[in-house]
């Protein structure tokens, strides 16, 4: 069930330039069921900016009633959010959307978790849940440059972690696909979140695998009412069928929707 709640800031810190990790506490956490869901955040009281900001959940702890999100302070809203301090309240609507299907990866299998930039965070909760059920995880994380990297240590604790940077300042020079192409290991499932070109490259190269993609789109309401984040479906690419990224997604099986 979706709830709206003013949640309390437990911790808030900058992990990398403009990349913030915000941990909030409140009852709404008990509704979080899947990795890859998101929350809709009112970044300030009043009308400026007016709309909420969709931000993915990077991890949650039901017993402690707390969850963490990692976001990039880029525009007006997220910059305002980055200024909120410990013990203050943040207006959260959530959890929203359908996340990654953890059940699609079986015990003893290997899952590849591929993230790009600010698409990396939701993979963290996913990785923990996969590891907990006995799935071997391999992380391939892409960033622009060395200083933009975050959570390498956290991911490394859960499984092999490969980093790619566009400028080659750390790890493999290039994109996540550069790393995956060289991987000398078998895997059954890919879970991915990141920029659309990255998702398209994965869809083109690994369609024979069980491939799940988390999409990003500008949203209005975040609950499926406003039709702002609509995309065509794979089996009816030019017709009237559609899926809403906010309420049908944001995670889709590759081919389910047109990227």
């Amino acid at each position: 069930m979706i709830k709206k709640e003013t949640m309390k800031v437990l911790t808030h810190k900058e992990l990398a330039p403009s990349i913030f990790e915000l941990t909030l506490q409140g009852e709404l956490v008990s509704e979080m069921k899947q990795p890859g869901q998101f929350v809709h955040v009112k970044t300030t009281e009043g009308n400026e900016p007016l709309l909420r900001r969709p931000i993915s959940i990077s991890s949650y702890n039901s017993s402690e009633k707390q969850f963490t999100m990692i976001y990039r302070a880029e525009g007006k809203g997220t910059t305002l959010l980055s200024q909120c301090k410990q013990a203050e309240g943040v207006d959260i609507l959530g959890p929203l959307g359908n996340g990654f299907p953890v059940h699609e990866a079986n015990k003893g299998e290997t899952a590849l978790l591929v993230g790009g930039g600010i698409g990396v965070p939701p993979l963290y909760q996913l990785s923990q849940m996969l590891v907990a059920k006995g799935v071997r995880v391999i992380h391939v994380l892409g960033f622009q440059t060395k200083s933009a990297i975050f959570y390498e240590k956290e991911f490394s604790k859960l499984g092999d972690t490969y980093i790619a940077t566009v400028d080659g300042s750390y790890g493999t020079k290039g994109f996540v696909t550069t790393v995956i192409d060289k991987l000398d290991t078998e895997f059954e499932t890919i879970f991915s979140c990141g920029p659309t070109p990255m998702l398209k490259a994965l869809e083109a190269g690994y369609r024979e695998k069980k491939l799940y993609l988390s999409l990003e789109e500008r949203m209005g309401c975040g609950i499926g009412a406003c039709f702002a984040c609509v995309c065509h479906t794979g089996d009816d690419p030019n017709g009237f069928s559609y899926k809403k990224v906010c309420s049908d997604g944001p995670v889709f099986r590759a081919g389910e929707v047109v990227l």
Partner: protein, 313 residues
Amino acid sequence: MSRLSVELPGLHLKNPVMPASGCFGFGREYSQFFNLDVLGAIMIKATTPEPRFGNPTPRVAETSSGMLNAIGLQNPGLAKVINEELDWLSGYDVPIIANVAGSQIADYVKVASNISKVGNVKALELNISCPNVKEGGIAFGTVPEVAKEVTKAVKEVSSVPVYVKLSPNVSNIVEMAKAVEDGGADGLTMINTLVGMRLDLKTGRPILSNKTGGLSGPAIKPVALRMIYEVSQQVSIPIIGMGGIASAEDVIEFFYAGASAVAVGTANFVDPFVCPTIIEELPNLLDELGFDHISQCTGRSWKQNEAVANYRA
């Protein structure tokens, strides 16, 4: 009788607050937050004869105290709206105002004649003001003679009262209002969105794939108030006011301007509970302001002038 109840052509409203068309889908999403029965009415998403996919994304862009949208009248088409959405809504005790759209008069006539026969549809909202479609929409809402013609055509076939949704993208809103009143409109809903644009700082290109979109939200409230103030003094049909309403105070301001009921649009996206919250807060605000019934607020802005004028005379 409740101090919030309002009687309008075709509509017995338990309170004057309803979600605006396009901001509430067909109610399903919001039904997970509250019982839709608390609403005065529901203005459902625009319906066209055939299904429409709408515009490519991005379909929304934010602005100062508002947002632009260019959804493009996406809807599942007349048959599905009647058989699935209105059927589902009939489980609630709430009157439905069906928003009727199309790209030619025949489209409006087809949707109006069919949808007005559905039991829970108590009124139509004639959408001659959507700025985001290539054909029809706003083209019908910016030329008085054309607006009158489509109003007449729909009135002839509708089984329920017809409210015409006016576009603010005209130089003389009173002239438009009078034209549709002449055409037989039972009421007005106003205002639809203002055509606007935003550009991407890096690419220099419009943010919306449709290039332009409709501006809504608190930013347009003063425009809506001004237009309702002007129109309500010149027509004898009631007005359902909309344009940036987000609080009980806003509702009263719209009544003062001349509205007899109100619709809440963009605010639903910010706070899904905004309609029930406003409904709950209105009685206290009436107490504070010293009114027994909300209808006493309608037109207070200009009725006071009239009272003074009469006294002086």
